[in-house]
Symmetry: C2
C-alpha cells in the first residue's frame, strides 16, 4: 500500500519509519527541498496548491493523509475527488480554525475557555470589555508553537493588536488559571473503533512543548476520553487526533485539537505497545488498531534548536534518540529523546539527565 | 554520519530503520535492482567486486559495515584502504569460512562438534571413517538457511557427495544429538566494551529458522557469554556477532558464528531496550552501547515465502509486523512478526495465533 502524506517534516518521517515495516511505501508532497521525510520515500516537491502535483500524488497512492493541519481547504477538496483522504476535509476544516473548533466544543458540551470571534479592532475592544483581561488573542488559523498569538494583560496590549497579528480573523480567549496541561492522543478507525493512550502531562516554555510525561491511572482519564469521544464521533474522524486540555479546578477545559499525530505522543514509539504513528496508519489504511497500553514508564523531551552530541544522548541509560535530520535553527524542533524505564524514580533521574544535556 | 552497507536486504533495511533516528544516512551496495533496503537510502547497484563502485562508496561514507558475511575477502581488503570497515577483514575472513571458524573454536577451548577439512572425495571417505555417521557435510563458505550442506546417514549418502556440493572445499561435522538450539547475540564496541542479549531458543524447519523465543535467566547464559567473549576478544571484534550453539548434555557446543545482525535477534526491536540493529550501529560508529535488557517477554516468527494479510497480523494483540517489501517466493524470508507481552502464558497463546496464521 502506498500512502501519500501532505507535508514532509518530522511527523512524516516518523510515519514512514512506522509504516515501512507494515509493507507501506510513502510519497511526501512538500515544497521544501530539504524536507526531512524525503529520504524515506518519494518527494513531490511542490506547493500545497499545485494541482498538477496533487493530481500526480492522487494517481500514485492508495490514500492521502496529513502531517500538519494548515492545508488549504481547496487542496483537500481537490484531492478528495480522486483518492480517499483521512482525516476528512470536514474534520480538517474544523480543526484548523479556532472559531469552528471552539464552537464545536461548546455545541458538544465540552468545557472550553470563554471565547469570541474577532474580525476587527472594534470586535476586539468589545470582546475585551465582555471577557475581561488577561486574555489571549490568537489567529483563527495557521498558529503553532506559540506563533500567531499574543497575551493581553492591560489596555495598552489591546490597542492596535488586531493589526499587529496581521488584521486576519482572530479569536479572543479568556485567560484560564490552569494548574497543568495534559493531552490525550486518540485514534479512531474507519469502522468507528476508538482507542486512547494514557493522558500525557505537558510542559511548555515560550509556547513550545519541552517535556511530555505519560501518566498512570490519571484521575481525569475517563473525563478526557468522554470529551474526546464526543468530538471524534461528531467529526466521524479517522486517524490519530490529539486533544489538548487545561487542568482547571480538578476538571478539564479543552484548549485545542490537532487532527494528526502530535508531539506530545512521540513517547509512544517506545512507551506504548503500538505507537501513535503506527496506529494512525492502521486507522487510515483500514487495519485493526493496535494496543495503546503503556510499556513501562516513559517521558519525551524535545530538542529545540540543536540536537546534543549523539554520543552524549546515547550514554544515558535507556534513552532513545530521534534525530529529525533537519538543519539546526533557533526555536526549531530538530529532535527528541524518549526515556523509558520500569519506575518513576528512575524516570525522574533520566529526565534530569537529558535536561542537563539540553541546558549544558 | 553516513554508513555504507554491503548488501541491501532485510538486514540492511532494519539497520536503516534503526539508524535513521540516530541521524545516520545510509548507502547500500547491492547488485539486485529490487534490493529491499534501497528505499531507505542510496542504492549503489553494482557487484561486490566492482572496484569503481566500491571506491565511490568509500568516498561517500564515514564507515562501511556488512549485512551478510559472504563478501569476497578482496572486497573488504580493497575498502579497508580507504575507509574504516567494521567488523574487520580478519573477523570476516574467519567467520565466513567454517574451517577457520571451527579451528578458532578449538584453539579457544570452545566445545564444538568433531570436524575435518574436506578438499576431495578421498578426504571425505577418510573423515567419515574417522568421525563416523551420521555426519553433516557443509561447504566451507557461502552456506545459509540449510543451503550448501547435506546430512550423511549411510555409505550411499557419502558416495559422490563431494562433487554433489560442487567440488568446493567443505567441512565434515560429526552429528551432535542436541536437545535444543540457542543463540547468543553479542555486541562489542570499538573500546572493547561487550554486552550480551538474553539467550534465544531457536526452532528450525528444513534448515530455516522459524521461531525464536527470548529466554529469562537461562542456566547456560553465563557459559555462552564466556565462550562468545573469548571469540570477540580474539577477533578484536566490533559490532554485533551472533553465536549459534547446540544444547548437548546440559552444556553447549558451538555451531557457528555470524559476523552481523542475525535473524534470531530480530525480537530485540521490540523485546529489548536497545535493538541489535541500533547496537550494531552504535558499536561501529563508536557510540556508547545501549541496554540489552529485555522489555517483557517476546518471540519472533519468520514469514517464509509469503507474508499473511497485514490486517490478519495486525489483528493479533501486541503483534508487530515486519514486512521486508520483498517479492514473495517459496523458501524466501519475506517478513517476520514479533509478539511481546507481560507473561509467558500470554506469549505462548500469541505464538500459537501467529503460527495458525502461517499455517492457515
Amino acid at each position: 500500500m502506498k500512502i501519500g502524506v501532505i507535508g514532509g517534516g518530522q511527523l512524516g518521517r516518523m510515519l514512514a519509519l512506522a509504516g515501512t515495516p507494515l509493507g507501506m511505501n510513502f510519497a511526501f508532497l512538500d515544497p521544501a527541498p530539504d524536507a526531512c521525510a524525503a529520504p524515506l520515500g518519494e518527494h513531490l516537491r511542490a506547493d500545497y496548491g499545485d494541482q498538477d502535483h496533487l493530481r500526480q500524488l492522487a494517481d500514485e497512492v492508495d490514500l492521502v493523509t496529513f502531517e500538519f493541519e494548515s492545508v488549504p481547504a481547496e487542496t483537500v477538496a481537490f484531492l478528495s475527488q480522486f483518492v480517499p483522504v483521512y482525516p476528512s476535509a470536514d474534520a480538517l476544516r474544523i480543526a484548523r480554525d479556532r472559531w469552528f473548533e471552539k464552537s464545536m466544543f461548546k455545541d458538544l458540551g465540552v468545557p472550553t475557555p470563554t471565547f469570541a470571534d474577532i474580525q476587527s479592532q472594534a470586535d476586539l475592544d468589545a470582546a475585551v470589555a465582555s471577557i475581561g483581561l488577561p486574555a489571549v488573542l490568537k489567529t483563527r488559523t495557521l498558529g503553532y508553537d506559540g506563533k500567531g498569538q499574543k497575551v493581553l494583560r492591560s489596555a495598552t496590549d489591546v490597542a492596535g493588536t488586531f493589526a499587529e497579528l496581521g488584521s486576519v480573523p482572530c479569536l479572543l480567549e479568556g485567560f484560564v488559571p490552569f494548574t497543568g496541561e495534559v493531552s490525550l492522543i486518540a485514534v479512531r478507525a474507519r469502522d468507528g473503533e476508538t482507542r486512547f493512550y494514557p493522558l500525557v502531562h505537558n510542559t511548555h516554555e515560550a509556547g513550545i512543548l519541552r517535556l511530555s510525561v505519560a501518566s498512570t491511572a490519571h484521575p481525569l482519564q475517563g473525563l478526557a476520553e468522554d470529551y474526546a469521544g464526543r468530538v471524534l464521533q461528531k467529526l466521524d474522524y479517522v486517524g490519530v487526533l490529539a486533544f489538548e486540555f487545561f487542568e482547571v479546578d480538578g476538571g478539564l477545559k479543552a484548549n485545542e485539537i490537532a487532527p494528526r499525530v502530535h508531539n506530545s505522543g512521540h513517547w509512544t514509539i517506545e512507551g506504548a505497545e503500538c505507537s501513535q504513528f503506527e496506529n494512525h496508519l492502521r486507522a487510515v489504511a483500514g487495519l485493526p488498531l493496535g494496543s495503546t497500553a503503556k510499556v513501562g514508564e516513559s517521558a519525551m523531551l524535545n530538542f529545540i534548536g540543536e540536537v546534543p552530541a549523539v554520543a552524549q544522548v546515547a550514554a544515558i541509560d535507556d534513552c532513545h534518540l530521534h534525530h529529525y535530520g533537519k538543519a539546526f535553527k533557533v526555536g526549531r524542533k530538530v529532535g527528541h529523546a524518549t526515556v523509558r524505564c520500569a519506575d518513576r524514580a528512575t524516570l525522574q533521574r533520566q529526565i534530569a539527565e537529558v535536561q542537563a544535556l539540553i541546558q549544558g
